[in-house]
């Protein structure tokens, strides 16, 4: 991914730098809160979830609210903070049920079925028509690429040092 193509947003900083900064700060915070002393699977899992959400959140923050998907991600995080995890689990279960029902119900057009799947993948894509969904997907892909690159670098530097 080329930097120039990425958002050049509020200031002169690029998407990568914004995301990197936020992500590393979050990483530091996480490491401080829960130092990697024990390697229990549960602990690992918790850290994993936190790091992943930190990555998503920092990416969404880097994009701010310019895109539908970033707004959806940030809204999701806000909801998480306000509600208990239990509630979230319940809603996710309900959503899964709904998803199954949808699959059983009708056969949709191939393109529609794919579009729906894409909607599920891209955050906040449920309420968008195909045209804007494709646009959001393009931007989301860009940001995902950035995210992967940064995280890979971080992981590499971690592992090498």
């Amino acid at each position: 991914m080329n930097n120039p193509k990425l958002l050049s947003l509020n200031s002169t900083t690029s998407l990568i730098s914004r995301f990197t900064r936020g992500f590393i700060q979050a990483l530091i915070r996480i490491n401080k809160q829960r130092p990697v002393t024990s390697s229990s699977p549960r602990e690992m899992y918790i850290r994993h979830r936190r790091i992943k959400s930190a990555a998503d959140k920092s990416m969404a923050l880097a994009v701010r609210s310019r895109r539908n998907w970033s707004r959806a991600v940030l809204a999701r995080f806000r909801k998480k903070r306000r509600r208990h995890v239990l509630v979230r689990r319940i809603t996710t279960c309900a959503m899964k049920k709904r998803g199954l029902e949808n699959k059983k119900s009708g056969h949709k057009e191939a393109s529609h079925g794919q579009a729906n799947e894409l909607r599920r993948l891209v955050p906040g894509g449920e309420a968008m028509d195909l045209c804007s969904l494709l646009e959001e997907t393009a931007h989301y892909l860009k940001c995902l690429n950035t995210q992967v690159q940064v995280m890979r670098c971080v992981a590499d530097s971690y592992s090498t040092i």
């Binding site: 915070r29 994993h48 989301y140 040092i161």
Partner: protein, 430 residues
């Protein structure tokens, strides 16, 4: 008059063609011109000199097509109906400069034309030459009203023009075969918006395109349509024209009355308003798909929405999985080495310089943690130029202290993060 008519017609053709080419969009131009030419016996109005009669037969079409593109100027010309009756009808329609819905696909016979004449209040026994003259008139600035465009009025009264046109039409009818004009371009109807194709267009097209605002003329034209043997053409045309009309109004690029995105119906394509919107939507979607094709690696050769969508979905899924794996990997990593990561990242990602190599040199095991930070810092400092993050050089302190100091200093100096508290703790930005 008769001779003048022939000349007039020829002139009209020329002038109209000339007019059509440059300004198809200005409906007003054509209508007034035509009417004026017809109505006015002033040959001076014509740009070109008299043309032989043979012109009429073949030249009508361009004239007709001219008017077709216009229409919206909406000059409610009464002569509308009359024109339809005769081969001049095409011209009349043009003159009318009305919307597409024309019912004039057919040219009425002389008799019918004659019948019409009395119906039009303005029209009397005009001279053909006048009509021709009005047609040939390119200068008409606007379609104006039934009475005729301003130009006409300047030359003549509106009514006079009308009448003359009527007369001219009837005369011409004999000379020119309506059928030819009408049948000449069956496609004419569809192209309401193709100014370039005006010339080849049939008079039928014009007929369709022209809509008479004048109720009277409108009725008359309808009558004519019904009578004519070419009704089928007309009917089909009128049907389309209705759509076209509605579309013209909504989509007219020539008379942008509304803030719509004007879409033109292309040659050979349906001009239904729904299909136009559909086409725009489809084009948007295909444009976005092309964009995505560039983003997703290995999709250059893929053609087709379904396959492309599949690829996109797979790619998004794979990227999301990679994020998961990487976060899992990071979760197992010792966090004590964050400092160098800060340094390293910008280098690796943004600058891809060899500085990162210097960092890597230091890196034996993560687990051996404590002794590292200092060494790392020392080693890193020289090796790592300031990155975009612009962290200042760190003093040599204990790992944790160093980390904290680094972050504090770095953050305070460089970060414009809102969430950074006074104690250096990062606060989530929301």
């Amino acid at each position: 008059m008769g001779s003048g008519d022939g000349h007039d017609m020829g002139v009209q053709h020329r002038s109209e063609r000339a007019i059509n080419c440059p300004s198809s969009g200005t409906s007003s131009n054509q209508l007034p011109k035509k009417v004026a030419t017809l109505a006015t016996s002033t040959m001076s109005m014509y740009k070109s000199s008299n043309v032989a009669d043979p012109f009429f037969g073949s030249n009508w079409e361009p004239i007709v097509s001219l008017n077709q593109s216009e229409n919206y100027g909406g000059s409610p010309m009464v002569s509308h109906t009359e024109f339809s009756n005769s081969p001049y009808g095409a011209i009349v329609m043009e003159n009318q400069g009305i919307r597409n819905t024309s019912h004039f696909a057919q040219y009425p016979s002389d008799s019918s034309f004659v019948e019409l004449v009395p119906k039009l209040p303005c029209f009397g026994s005009g001279s053909f030459s006048e009509m021709v003259g009005s047609f040939g008139q390119p200068e008409c600035g606007q379609t104006a009203n039934v009475g005729g465009p301003r130009n006409y009025i300047s030359n003549k009264e509106g009514c006079n023009e009308r009448t003359s046109t009527n007369g001219a039409l009837s005369q011409e009818e004999e000379k020119i075969s309506e059928q030819e004009a009408i049948e000449a371009s069956p496609n004419g109807k569809r192209r309401k918006r193709e100014p370039a194709s005006n010339s080849p267009f049939n008079p039928t097209k014009n007929v369709e395109g022209k809509q008479q605002k004048d109720g009277e003329s409108y009725d008359v034209s309808k009558e004519l349509n019904e009578k004519k043997p070419k009704t089928e053409q007309n009917n089909g045309l009128s049907g389309k024209q209705v759509d076209e009309q509605s579309k013209d109004y909504s989509n007219s690029g020539e008379a942008p009355k509304e803030n719509y995105i004007h879409v033109r119906a292309r040659r050979g394509q349906a001009t239904n308003s729904h299909s136009l919107a559909e086409r725009v939507r489809r084009e948007k979607i295909s444009e976005r798909m092309r964009l995505l094709q560039e983003l997703v690696p290995g999709c250059n050769k893929i053609t087709g929405k379904a396959v492309m969508l599949d690829e996109i979905i797979n790619y998004v899924q794979s990227l999301q999985q990679q994020v998961e794996f990487l976060s899992m990997k990071l979760a197992t990593v010792n966090p004590e080495l964050n400092i160098d990561i800060d340094r390293v990242l910008p280098k690796d990602i943004l600058h891809s310089r060899g500085g990162s190599a210097a960092v890597i040199e230091f890196g034996p095991e993560m687990n051996s943690s404590h002794p590292y930070p200092r060494a790392l810092f020392q080693g890193i400092m020289p090796g790592i130029p300031n990155s975009n993050l612009q962290f200042p050089p760190l003093p040599q302190t204990a790992v944790d202290n160093e980390l904290q100091n680094l972050f504090h200093m770095g953050f305070e100096s460089n970060l414009d993060m809102d969430g950074l508290g006074p104690d250096g703790r990062l606060k989530p930005k929301l």
